[in-house]
């Protein structure tokens, strides 16, 4: 498959860069009151923000995060299909040369047991980062992930620890069809004992990956294939970013959009479009869906009174349903309109590019939902 084919799914409108990095705001870095950091508890700006940070793709940022953590902790190792040569997209490329094939271990095509071996090795002193090539294939490893990784700490009365990071990539990009395009994060967020992270830009990808690797719990780290070649500024040896903290990407007062992963870019574009009409839109990226930073979202809705939730997964049973439910519980009397979801239809992902384009939620549908919310009282 060609790289361009994989990139197609998430091209921003009018040929824009697919996803803006939160660090495009780095020229105002010393002002910690900027909206970007509002959702970050105890935020302190990194020391090196005085300098311009290098741009990296989302993919390179993930690789840099892996490399820095492998240097930091010799217990960290990578385990998965084809990882020694970089995997199908090149995320782990070069790590085998740097750290050797004993720390970048190619496995047979046996997802369930790749997961199982990683869990066992985590109980016995290692800190594995495994790669399940597509989130669609995590179905093969569910017994190990759900019944073992997520529960061993609990079942052992808190004695066993499972410091495991499961890297997967998800989503629609490149017309790859029903078995290579799903967004299954809501399944995983339903399981106590797992943490679920979905970064939308390079800096978050790197910072959250570092936290995932350092965490003593199983963390499913969901990358979006369509974001792999999007760029943003990322500091070398940058801080980790705490799991469970949403980011406010844009301040607004008329309406809040909560957008996840691939939907962050179209949500920001929608906000800019509406801004031209004098509508002020706040955009929040939860970044982590379990635990979910409902506090930041609810505080925003309290201010704007209107909420749109956008994700690429199908609408029914999606994480949007959880967000809607918890927001109405928290701030029901502040709402001026029903909360709307922008998500994929309840259907398998179609393969043909035309059908796929129709299937994927986009800026236009987000804008439309915003207008509907704003027109109802």
């Amino acid at each position: 498959m060609g790289r361009s084919m994989l990139q197609n799914g998430l091209q921003g409108p009018r040929g824009e860069r697919p996803v803006p990095s939160c660090f495009v705001l780095n020229n105002v870095h010393t002002d910690t009151s900027i909206s970007l950091y509002k959702g970050r508890k105890n935020f302190r700006p990194p020391m090196n923000l005085e300098f311009t940070m290098p741009e990296q793709t989302y993919l390179e940022a993930i690789r840099a995060g892996l490399e820095e953590e492998m240097r930091r902790d010799p217990a960290v190792y990578i385990f998965g299909e084809d990882v020694a040569l970089g995997g199908p997209f090149g995320v782990t490329k070069g790590l085998a040369e740097t750290f050797g094939v004993n720390r970048t271990v190619n496995t047979p095509i046996s997802e369930a047991t790749v997961m199982g071996l990683a869990i066992g090795s985590a109980t016995a002193g290692l800190r594995p980062v495994i790669e399940i090539m597509f989130i669609d294939f995590i179905t093969l490893a569910m017994d190990q992930l759900i019944n073992h990784a997520a529960k061993l700490h609990y079942m052992s009365g808190g004695q066993l620890k499972i410091p495991l990071t499961v890297r997967v990539q998800c989503g629609i990009s490149g017309a790859m069809g029903a078995h290579h395009s799903q967004s299954l994060e809501a399944w995983l967020a339903h399981v106590p004992g797992l943490k679920v992270v979905m970064p939308a830009n390079p800096a978050d990808a790197k910072g959250l990956l570092k936290s995932a690797i350092r965490d003593d719990n199983p963390v499913v780290f969901i990358e979006h294939r369509g974001l792999y070649w999007s760029k943003g500024e990322v500091a070398p040896n940058s801080d980790s970013i705490a799991i469970g903290q949403a980011a406010i990407l844009r301040d607004g007062k008329d309406l809040t959009i909560v957008a996840l992963s691939s939907m962050v870019a179209p949500a920001l574009a929608a906000a800019r479009e509406l801004e031209a009409e004098g509508i002020s839109v706040e955009v929040i990226d939860p970044r982590t869906i379990s635990p979910l930073d409902i506090e930041t979202i609810a505080a925003s809705v309290k201010k704007t009174s209107r909420l749109i939730v956008a994700h690429e997964a199908v609408e029914q049973g999606g994480i949007g349903a959880e967000i809607v439910s918890r927001v109405q519980q928290e701030v029901f009397y502040y709402l001026d309109s029903p909360i709307l979801r922008v998500a994929a239809p309840f259907a398998p992902v179609p393969a043909g590019p035309t059908l796929e384009k129709q299937f994927l939620p986009n800026q236009e549908r987000i804008v439309d939902a915003c207008r509907r919310a704003l027109s109802s009282n």
Binding site: G120, T123, A124, Q144, N147, M155, G158, K161, S211
Partner: protein, 326 residues
């Protein structure tokens, strides 16, 4: 050759394992134990033979019929009984029950309610041992039913590929719940599968505790010296049904059950020691009475132990966050 003291200790251990299963059955019948039992009666020689050949730093992973493995590896009887009875002082604070536990203090990395589920995790612990350059070996206990799960094949392939220090101990009691071996499995003996993954597979008499010990000791030495895994298929028979509630007679004849009771692993070692002049019937009886009496006292204490608080216990779902962000 095992010395007499060691053999006598193993005999006592087997009696303890049997007493434990009988105690669980009694507790279950009078509803003092919840969930279900999965009796290990008849299979005691495997847990005892295997675990007696291990070092304390070695690890085991177990499955639903696993209380015997835990005791043989060094589980605390009071804590284990508390767990079986849902007491707050159990291994999992009363939240796991007898199938869902783990305790590194005696090298136990977990058992499972999903058949075959710990075969990959045991193999992963062996991977860790190899990567860390330790001399630990890992025992993966599983039954003949689990042997037909896909993950068992996947794990054995990886273990063979990387020469991991793991011993696959397949307890072949000849019935996967109600389905017999010949009705579920294309080969006569599972041990041939070792060859499919590039390592030794051997079928042994699982009711001969000395044979189990010797084979485990040999396989463990092999694992420690970097020569990879071993598949030990231990032929045995479960005396009781699959779980508490299954008399085990709808799919097995009374004659078959009786014939295997004649091959009782305890009886076998006892008679051998008596024939050799190392043990008398009365000495055995005294040991057995002591084991049963000690266990009864511990069970009484466990039954009187406090129950968990009535609130839903949300602790230890996640390990505490010790991440420094920098």
């Amino acid at each position: 050759m095992l010395d007499t003291a060691k053999r006598k200790a193993m005999l006592r251990q087997m009696v303890l394992l049997r007493a434990f299963e009988e105690k669980l059955e009694e507790l279950y019948q009078r509803k003092a134990m919840f969930g279900s039992t999965h009796s290990y009666r008849g299979q005691e020689a495997i847990a005892v033979g295997v675990c007696s050949a291990l070092q304390s730093s070695d690890l085991i992973a177990s499955y639903h019929r696993g209380t015997g493995h835990l005791i043989a590896k060094g589980a605390d009887l009071y804590t284990l009984l508390c767990e079986c009875m849902g007491r707050a002082e159990g291994y999992s604070k009363g939240r796991g029950g007898k199938m869902h536990m783990g305790d590194m203090a005696f090298g136990f990395i977990g058992n499972t309610g999903t058949v075959g589920g710990t075969v990959p995790t045991a193999t992963g612990a062996a991977l860790s041992a190899k990567v860390r350059g330790s001399k630990e070996v890992v025992i993966s206990f599983f039954g003949d039913g689990a042997a037909n799960q896909g993950v068992v094949h996947e794990a054995m392939n990886m273990a063979g590929l990387w020469k991991l220090p793991v011993i696959y101990v397949c307890e072949n009691n000849q019935y996967a719940m109600t389905v017999s071996l010949e009705k579920s499995t294309a080969v006569k003996q599972y041990s041939v599968r070792g060859a499919a993954y590039g390592f030794e597979g051997k079928t042994i008499d699982g009711n001969d505790v000395e044979a189990v010990y010797e084979e485990t000791a040999r396989a463990a030495a092999k694992g420690r010296s970097g020569d990879g895994p071993t598949f030990l298929e231990c032929m045995t028979y479960r005396w009781d049904g699959h779980f508490g509630g299954d008399p085990g007679t709808a799919y097995r004849t009374k004659e078959e059950i009786e014939s295997w009771k004649q091959k009782c692993p305890i009886k076998r070692l006892k008679e051998k020691l008596i024939a050799e002049g190392h043990l008398s019937e009365s000495e055995f009886q005294k040991t057995s009475d002591e084991v049963y009496a000690d266990l009864a006292a511990i069970a009484e204490r466990a039954e009187a132990a406090p129950l968990p608080k009535k609130e839903v216990d949300l602790t230890s779902i996640y390990a505490p966050l010790e991440v420094s962000h920098g």
